[in-house]
């Protein structure tokens, strides 16, 4: 099929809008990495699990669908806390690989629980703004994704406020920068980390619900691809950089769509991974990350 400039611009618009879902996930990865300097690979799975719990709750309790956006994040926050205790809290501090491997295990564990509870069947998820597709000239815009984009900026603001304007943020940054010194200053580092996991979980649960609402369907099939996208966004944005996560989310979303349009679906991800390699080689700290070789 012939591709014209309208198609390219439209793919860019769609990509940037859809990239806001990646940005939200990247934000959560970033928050945890920023706090502990460790990657929680189970993050996207627990986010989607939160969305599942929200969906199950509204189905079982017959409550208004909008409540899924409250129950989902709270559930994901609780799952985040469980993952903190299971995969991070008691792992040997000197062994960097232990929590990473544990969280990979948690990813598959959470995924398998979802699969067992749903038999792997896709489930319809309530749409945020079901009939919000509108046209700007020749370009179609999804209103629900505009709202997701709006939320990603709001949440970025909230996270930055929490990190830079509250005692919790101060404690988180202190723990992140030098946990022994923070402990000596009276900061309860474990509690700070646990709180960060809960907050990141709530954020992820909200992201999970928004992603499910944007797709319209929930399936355990999506946890692994979202984990990979979230990690790519985190690395390209710069590990620990909040604004980097947001911008990289939009970048990956648009990059993906352009290559889908131009090269087809079979080559799309090759270029996304190539972009990751380019960053890892030429700009390992990502767009806005701080130097990796810190003390």
């Amino acid at each position: 099929m012939n591709i014209d400039h309208i198609d390219v611009i439209q793919a860019l618009i769609d990509g940037i809008l859809y990239g806001s879902t990646y940005a939200l996930l990247g934000l959560g990865f970033t928050l945890i990495f920023g706090a502990m300097h460790k990657l929680n690979i189970a993050y996207a799975a627990s986010s989607i699990a939160g969305a599942y719990v929200g969906l199950a709750s509204i189905s079982v309790m017959a409550i208004p669908p909008i409540l899924v956006f409250f129950i989902g994040p709270l559930s994901a926050g609780a799952i985040g806390l469980v993952i903190y205790f299971a995969c991070f809290r008691y792992m040997p501090t000197g062994n960097q690989l232990a929590p990473l491997m544990a969280s990979i295990g948690a990813l598959f564990f959470v995924d398998e629980i979802i699969i067992h509870e749903t038999s792997g069947s896709p489930l319809s998820f309530p749409a945020l703004l079901p009939d919000s597709y509108f046209f700007l000239g020749q370009f179609g815009i999804r209103g629900d994704l505009v709202m997701v984009m709006f939320f990603s900026f709001v949440l970025m603001g909230i996270v930055m406020f929490l990190l830079y304007r509250t005692k919790l943020g101060l404690a988180t940054r202190a723990t992140s920068q030098q946990s022994v010194a923070a402990l000596l200053c009276g900061i309860p580092t474990h509690r700070t980390n646990a709180t960060t996991f809960v907050l990141a979980g709530i954020l992820g649960g909200f992201a999970g619900c928004l992603i499910a609402a944007a797709v319209g369907v929930l399936s355990p099939l999506i946890t692994l691809p979202l984990t990979i996208k979230g990690l790519i966004v985190t690395v390209i944005g710069g590990l620990g950089s909040i604004r980097g996560a947001i911008i990289a989310g939009f970048l990956i979303g648009s990059f993906e769509n352009i290559f889908l349009l131009v090269r087809g679906v079979n080559e799309r991800d090759i270029y996304v991974f190539l972009l990751l390699f380019v960053f890892l080689v030429f700009r390992p700290n990502g767009l806005f990350g701080t130097a990796i070789d810190r003390d």
Partner: protein
């Protein structure tokens, strides 16, 4: 005197019942099922297991299986998890083949089946081939042409070339205003991809439809003709994709009268929802056989409204309706994939009784061979929708089918060519 006669009769009856009980307790025919009980495609195994469980129960309720000496044996079965994973399916096949199981039903997914069938002996009596020698009668795995991989493997799955050929003929006859087609598929899913690019599109061309964006090189009505060009020209996606905006826009841009969405339920729903958002309203949507399931109705009933799919199962006969109810009781759904498992159990009973099995554990190899030969000799069986004929050169079935359409949250039969 009366009292004595009654006592003797009671004793004789008791002894007879005990003897019969003892005999049936001693004679057990073991079969095995395997499929996805974990992993994202778990629903295939859950449904298949639910149906096999019901069928085995029915066989045993009706007295079991008649052995060569005229006694009845109980049918026993165990279901294993192969997770729709090739290595796991092969591992289960090897484990089952080393047990006293006489015949297997599995492994649900086409990809796992393609790999697993490869470890079976290709041709019987080939002493140089040490592949597994256990008859397999597969349900679910629907990708075209799998059974011919080994002479030990047989399938009871829909014949997609025949179904789609008839479907396009029916559409051409009943909706002559529809002239052009366009579509897409999950390119990382062997069944969706293969059926779309080698079967569905070619069948449409055969019945006078044209490819909306323009003629494609090599595309004729022949199966698999120009399939690479079809894939290149289509708007495709992957089975875990969540964003279908670009593909839906290509669908819209094609301006086709009929759109083909060849995928499994998750992305079928994702794609249909995106088409609905972009207000794409073609004359007709044609789906992949595998999407004529309860999952699509759970995931996107409104967006699927009007979609037509050919299927080898619908609860339109008493037998099919009964199997659907029994599957639900066992926590699964009877659909075009899993319902075949019921027929498979009945075929196994029929074949075992026809070839005369002793149930002697020391004769497992000979009895497996006899069952294999019996399956090969089978030309016709009664299925849930009618008579199933078999193409034994390839180990495949020719099953009756109907066309279903998504209407008001359910699948409704709109054409019954049986």
């Amino acid at each position: 005197m009366d009292y004595n006669l009654k006592s003797i009769a009671t004793c004789v009856a008791t002894v007879a019942i005990m003897a019969a009980g003892a005999a049936s307790a001693e004679s057990v025919i073991n079969i095995a099922g395997w499929g996805a009980q974990s992993g994202p495609l778990r629903s295939f195994g859950v449904n298949s297991n639910a149906v096999i469980q019901a069928a085995v129960k029915r066989v045993n309720e009706e007295g079991g299986i008649r052995l060569a000496d005229g006694t009845m044996a109980t049918l026993a079965y165990e279901y294993h998890d192969s997770a729709c994973n090739a290595e796991q399916a092969i591992a289960v096949a090897r484990r089952v083949a080393s047990s006293d199981v006489l015949v297997g039903i599995g492994p649900t997914c086409s990809g796992a089946a393609a790999a697993m069938f490869g470890v079976f002996q290709k041709q019987v009596d080939d002493a140089s081939d040490t592949g597994l020698q256990l008859p397999i009668l597969t349900d679910t795995a629907v990708r075209n042409g799998l059974a011919k991989i080994s002479q030990w493997t047989f399938r009871n799955t829909p014949n997609e070339p025949a179904m789609y050929d008839n479907l396009w003929e029916w559409i051409a006859t009943n909706q002559p205003d529809l002239k052009t087609i366009y579509g897409g598929t999950e390119t990382d899913q062997g069944h969706s991809n293969g059926t779309y690019s080698k079967v569905i599109v070619q069948a449409a061309i055969r019945h006078g439809f044209t490819w909306a964006p323009g003629d494609l090189e090599g595309l004729t009505g022949d199966i698999a003709s120009g399939f690479e060009a079809v894939l290149d020209s289509s708007a495709n996606w992957l089975q875990a994709d969540t964003n279908f905006a670009v593909q839906a826009r290509a669908f819209r841009k094609s301006g086709a009268d009929v759109l083909i969405v060849s995928s499994h339920p998750f992305t079928t729903c994702g794609m249909l929802k995106e088409m609905s958002r972009q207000r794409i309203e073609p004359g007709l949507i044609v789906g992949l056989t595998s999407s004529s399931s309860a999952e699509v109705m759970k995931g996107c009933p409104d967006e699927a409204e009007g979609m037509i799919i050919p299927t080898s199962f619908a609860p339109i006969t008493d037998a099919a309706a009964e199997v659907a109810a029994l599957a639900n009781e066992n926590g699964g759904d009877a659909d075009l994939h899993s319902a075949a498992a019921w027929e498979n159990v009945m075929i196994i009973k029929q074949v075992i009784e026809a070839v005369g099995i002793t149930g002697d554990a020391s004769m497992v190899a000979q009895e497996r061979r006899a069952i294999r030969d019996g399956l090969e000799a089978l030309t016709e069986t009664e299925g849930l929708l009618g008579t199933i004929t078999r193409n034994q050169a390839e180990g495949e079935a020719l099953k009756p089918y109907v066309f279903v359409q998504a209407q008001a949250g359910g699948w409704v039969v709109v054409h019954d060519p049986r």
